[in-house]
């Protein structure tokens, strides 16, 4: 089977990986790097459970080929917490009860991180728009939106 060799930076660490040419970034992260926080929901770019940040922008890792990640900078959910301290958005999700089964949570948190980088004080409409590509089937969006609003306030006042 054909292989590709890819050098990419994941959560601050630059690594070189040789893997199957038809593998997606999602399974490079999960199988080759053991980063299981990035979830495989629909495998077709509809649900956003595999959302990661690529060069700072949210993308569906299930639709990026391993070879296309060459030279890119990737942030996964594992890359958010530093020194045992959760990211403000992770804390806000917990406090607001925005996590039930948790399957959609990593993708939602990363979409929210990208949103707050661009718009530190988003309106509810902007939050809803930013989450269009992230489906939650159990928690409900109300708490998720509340969590993002709480995190925006916290970061704003920090």
């Amino acid at each position: 089977m054909s292989q590709v060799t890819v050098t990419l930076t994941v959560n601050g660490q630059t690594q070189t990986i040789t893997t199957d040419a038809h593998k997606t970034l999602l399974y490079l992260l999960r199988d080759d790097l053991g980063l299981y926080g990035t979830k495989d929901g629909c495998s077709e770019g509809e649900c956003g459970a595999c959302t990661v940040l690529m060069d700072g922008r949210p993308v569906n890792a299930c639709l990026v080929l391993a070879g296309q990640a060459q030279g890119r900078t990737i942030i996964t959910i594992e890359g958010l917490a530093g020194d045992g301290e959760l990211h403000p958005l992770q804390r806000a999700f917990i406090r607001s009860g925005a996590v039930q089964c948790g399957f959609c949570t990593p993708g939602l948190v990363l979409s929210a991180v990208a949103l707050l980088e661009r718009q530190p004080d988003p309106t509810e409409a902007q939050i809803r728009q930013a989450l269009t590509g992230n489906l939650c089937r159990c928690t409900g969006y109300t708490q998720i939106i509340a969590a993002i609003q709480a995190a925006a306030r916290e970061v704003d006042h920090a």
Binding site: V59, N60, L65, A66, T132
Partner: protein
């Protein structure tokens, strides 16, 4: 899901050369190619990744013509000052396609190449009279988007050809334009019916120029020549709008599918065309 090989050309010439061999197909953002490959509807021995090819993602206005590099993402189109000023409906539609993840990866060249009857950039590009520029190891050619789109997933391009850019004239000052979509919900939706409009009205509310295109109601996105002819030269009042909507319904050839029935789509065409023209008839409606 048969495995494929992967090539990553670094120049346009390399990309053309790579695609000249049999069994090779291009990939850019992957938002259509990967799901189709997973579903067994996309075959290739080797995928040729266009993402590293320089010079394919600029949006420029030069010599009275807008040129959009095929690799421009929806995020880039939405942010483009050139499009916001001179083709605002294309900037607007780009924020309606999928979610942020899709908009960050999906490209205008991909939307054209995929040739879905429901591709949301296609009605706007049709009312902009867009030309598609193709390049291959054999040379370059250009054809109207209306001639490029042949059927669902079918285009006039050969397997070895790359969509390089799409070109059109900027909308004249005072032109009114709009894109409307009917879907089963607001976000992450494949259009059930879509419609794009360009109108120019004179000082007395008479239609000087009219272009109307529809998506998801025929084997390809289509222009509505009869509706346009009806509109031109007449005052844009409720009666004319109703007749133009009738003409658009007559131009549609919808099918029943998982998203909607043909009858619902026909009704949707009438509603969207009436809604769109009514919005554009209001003072300053959709004006640049």
């Amino acid at each position: 899901m048969t495995p494929f090989d992967f090539l990553s050309p670094q120049t346009l010439a390399e990309a053309c050369h790579a695609l000249a061999a049999a069994g090779r197909r291009p990939i850019a953002g992957g938002t259509d190619v990967i799901p189709q490959w997973r579903a067994g509807r996309f075959q290739a021995e080797t995928l040729v990744d266009l993402s590293r090819v320089p010079g394919l993602s600029d949006v420029t206005l030069r010599d009275g013509e807008i040129a959009i590099g095929a690799l421009s993402t929806y995020t880039e189109l939405h942010a483009s000052p050139v499009l916001r000023a001179h083709a605002p409906l294309l900037a607007e539609v780009s924020a309606m396609i999928g979610g942020a993840q899709t908009q960050n990866r999906g490209t205008i060249g991909g939307n054209i190449a995929n040739a879905s009857p429901a591709g949301d950039t296609l009605p706007p590009l049709l009312v902009l009279d867009a030309q598609v520029d193709l390049i291959s190891a054999a040379g370059e050619r250009s054809l109207a988007l209306s001639a490029f789109l042949r059927g669902p997933g079918q285009t006039a391009s050969e397997a070895h050809e790359i969509i390089r850019r799409v070109r059109f004239a900027p909308l004249p000052r005072g032109a009114r334009s709009l894109f409307l979509r009917l879907g089963n919900r607001q976000g992450m939706v494949i259009s059930v019916v879509s419609a794009a409009f360009v109108l120019q009205l004179d000082d007395h509310g008479r239609v000087e120029e009219a272009r109307v295109a529809l998506g998801a109601v025929a084997p390809t996105a289509i222009r509505c020549a009869e509706a346009e002819a009806l509109l031109r030269g007449r005052p844009l009042d409720d009666d004319l709008i109703a007749r133009a909507a009738d003409a658009a319904v007559a131009a549609a050839r919808p099918i029943d599918d998982v998203r909607a029935s043909a009858a619902y789509r026909r009704h949707g065409v009438r509603v969207l065309v009436r809604r769109g023209l009514t919005q554009l008839s209001a003072p300053g409606g959709g004006e640049q």
